[in-house]
């Protein structure tokens, strides 16, 4: 049994009368690939926002590597080894893809950015080029981010999160906004890199085929609560999950494939 890398205890978040997250108890072990499913507004992004320090919980605790990170800012949590990507790719639109990568690289170096030494150095260029190769976005290297297509932007978004070699990566709808033909290609690329660095992954996804293909475990959210948590076959076969999340009968065996 691997060590628990991320744990939440009774994590709750209310906005006035709305309960966006209710008593979430989650334990994720190192090496797991976890899929998070649930309809819009079910609390998945709220969960990620809380766990990464962007949104303070109303009550409960969050432990990373056994240490409480409650009250820590996102930048501290990133430095501790937990990175994330975003539903809408959060990049620097008027900088080039190369410059975006170099900013991520300089941030990952751990020291305060220098007043005088340039951002653009041969070493950083080399590292950035290697990352672009891994993710297949080399052709966009010198383009301004706001001219780059959506799929490539999501890849760059994820690539930047991986620059700091985090031990855990949270992906918020990595294939949203990407055409159905490209979804699998994108996930194949990302998961190949993730496996190479041994990163624990949790990703939010709406497409059941994608979820079932890559994960060893699924957590299902509904209305701010976790209604199922376990191996893909049992979660996807769960009647409540089928009714409330998937919304239709799913041929569980064909969806789940080899990872069950």
């Amino acid at each position: 049994m691997s060590a628990i890398i991320l744990e939440t205890r009774g994590l709750t978040r209310t906005f006035g009368a709305v309960v966006a997250a209710r008593e979430l108890n989650v334990r994720i072990a190192q090496g797991e690939i976890v899929g998070v499913i649930g309809s819009n507004g079910a609390g998945k992004t709220t969960f990620i926002n809380m766990v990464t320090g962007y949104l303070p919980p109303s009550s409960g605790d969050i432990l990373f590597d056994g240490n409480s990170v409650l009250g820590r800012k996102p930048r501290d949590i990133t430095r501790m080894g937990m990175a994330r990507s975003f539903q809408v790719a959060q990049l620097f639109p008027k900088l080039t893809v190369m410059e975006n990568a170099m900013v991520a690289l300089v941030a990952a170096e751990g020291t305060q950015p220098s007043f005088l030494r340039p951002l653009d150095t041969p070493q950083r260029r080399e590292q950035a080029n290697a990352i672009f190769e891994e993710f297949g976005v080399s052709r966009y290297r010198d383009a301004l981010v706001n001219t780059v297509p959506q799929g490539a932007r999501k890849l760059v978004d994820i690539a930047m999160a991986l620059v700091s070699r985090p031990r855990m990566l949270l992906l918020d709808e990595p294939t949203s906004g990407v055409s159905s033909e490209e979804k699998f290609a994108l996930m194949d690329t990302v998961m190949a890199v993730v496996r190479q660095y041994g990163v624990t992954v949790l990703f939010v996804e709406h497409d059941m085929e994608i979820v079932a293909r890559y994960v060893t475990r699924i957590i299902a959210f509904y209305s701010g609560e976790i209604i199922a948590d376990g191996p893909p076959k049992s979660v996807l076969g769960n009647a409540r999950v089928q009714e409330l999340v998937i919304g239709h009968d799913l041929n569980v065996n064909s969806a789940v494939g080899e990872n069950a």
Partner: protein, 319 residues
């Protein structure tokens, strides 16, 4: 480090060349032109402070605060502390501006957009209000700054104008080179990233506020330096150095020149000063109107300023 590595872009040799031309001009140009350029270059330093904040995504409507502190720092040190040396005076003015920025900057950089603009404006108007009502400091009249010495030597008349001109050119060139390095440095570029997407910078592991604070202090220092040079060159300081319309002028020149390159504020300031000299002579009652129409035209048709006319081809220049 070979010479080729040292000059990685054409900017620095170009700046040195420009400085050399300006220096050589000192002996051929008429005294009034040297004076005009001195004031223009000093003003450009303040505008540079506005520009680096714009590159960080913030518009300062109160940069005149540091311009005034730099000027009054020089004036007060000269009048009440008996400091006579130009270099010492400039250092004191700049340090005063830096201290103020260190005191206020952390609070101010918690704000963005309109609130940042209003806060900077309020701060500069507080100083204005204090100076206007302080009869000890000459209230609205201000007071004169005695001619400085330069490491012992006290030039007179035209020689003084020329010396101040040369001093300003050297300072401007040095500042331009330094700020060019800053603009392409890790901190400079990350500060631009803060403008583009603050949340992502936070998630990459850095503190956006820290970047903005460093930027703010740097801007204050260079603006204080500009104020100090203006005080020395014009020989006079008054509270209007802090009034909000002075800040508005700096913002105008920043937009006129553009934010894409360290040289842009210098171009903007020189063009502005030349145009203003003509306009005040020919049509003093329509100068503000000219400014206003030009500003609108810039915003509508040339939002990246005059610099964008020079630099059409490079898509990766971030403005």
């Amino acid at each position: 480090m070979s010479l080729r590595n040292y000059f990685s872009s054409p900017t620095e040799p170009a700046l040195l060349l420009a400085a050399a031309v300006f220096v050589a001009g000192a002996w051929v140009m008429p005294a009034w032109l040297a004076f005009l350029l001195t004031l223009a270059l000093a003003k450009a330093l303040v505008v540079l402070g506005v520009v680096i904040q714009m590159r960080a995504g913030l518009v300062s409507f109160g940069q005149a605060l540091f311009y005034c502190i730099g000027g009054y720092g020089v004036g007060l040190a000269s009048q009440y502390l008996g400091v006579g040396d130009a270099f010492a005076l400039l250092a004191l003015g700049t340090v005063a501006a830096l201290l103020m920025a260190l005191a206020c900057g952390w609070l101010l950089t918690r704000y963005r957009e309109i609130f940042y603009a209003m806060l900077t404006l309020a701060l500069s108007m507080i100083l204005y209000g204090v100076l206007v009502k302080s009869s000890a400091l000459g209230s609205t009249d201000g007071f004169n700054v005695s001619p400085p010495s330069f490491l012992g030597w006290v030039p007179e008349g035209d020689a003084r104008k020329r010396t101040l001109y040369l001093l300003t050119v050297f300072v401007a060139a040095a500042v331009a080179m330094g700020f060019h390095r800053f603009m392409v440095s890790s901190l400079g570029r990350v500060t631009e990233a803060v403008r583009e997407n603050e949340i992502r910078v936070e998630y990459l592991g850095l503190s956006p506020q820290r970047m903005l604070f460093a930027n703010y202090v740097l801007a204050a220092g260079v603006s204080g330096l500009g104020g100090g040079l203006t005080a020395l060159a014009s020989g006079h300081i008054d509270p209007d150095m802090a009034i909000w319309t002075t800040s508005g002028e700096f913002v105008f020149i920043a937009i006129l020149g553009g934010t894409g390159h360290v040289v842009a504020p210098f171009i903007g300031a020189i063009v502005f000063s030349v145009l203003r000299t003509f306009a005040i002579q020919e049509a003093p009652n329509t100068w503000q109107m000219t400014l206003g129409i030009t500003l609108l035209a810039l915003i509508l048709f040339l939002p990246k300023g005059l610099w964008s006319l020079v630099d059409r081809n490079k898509p990766e220049v971030s403005a």
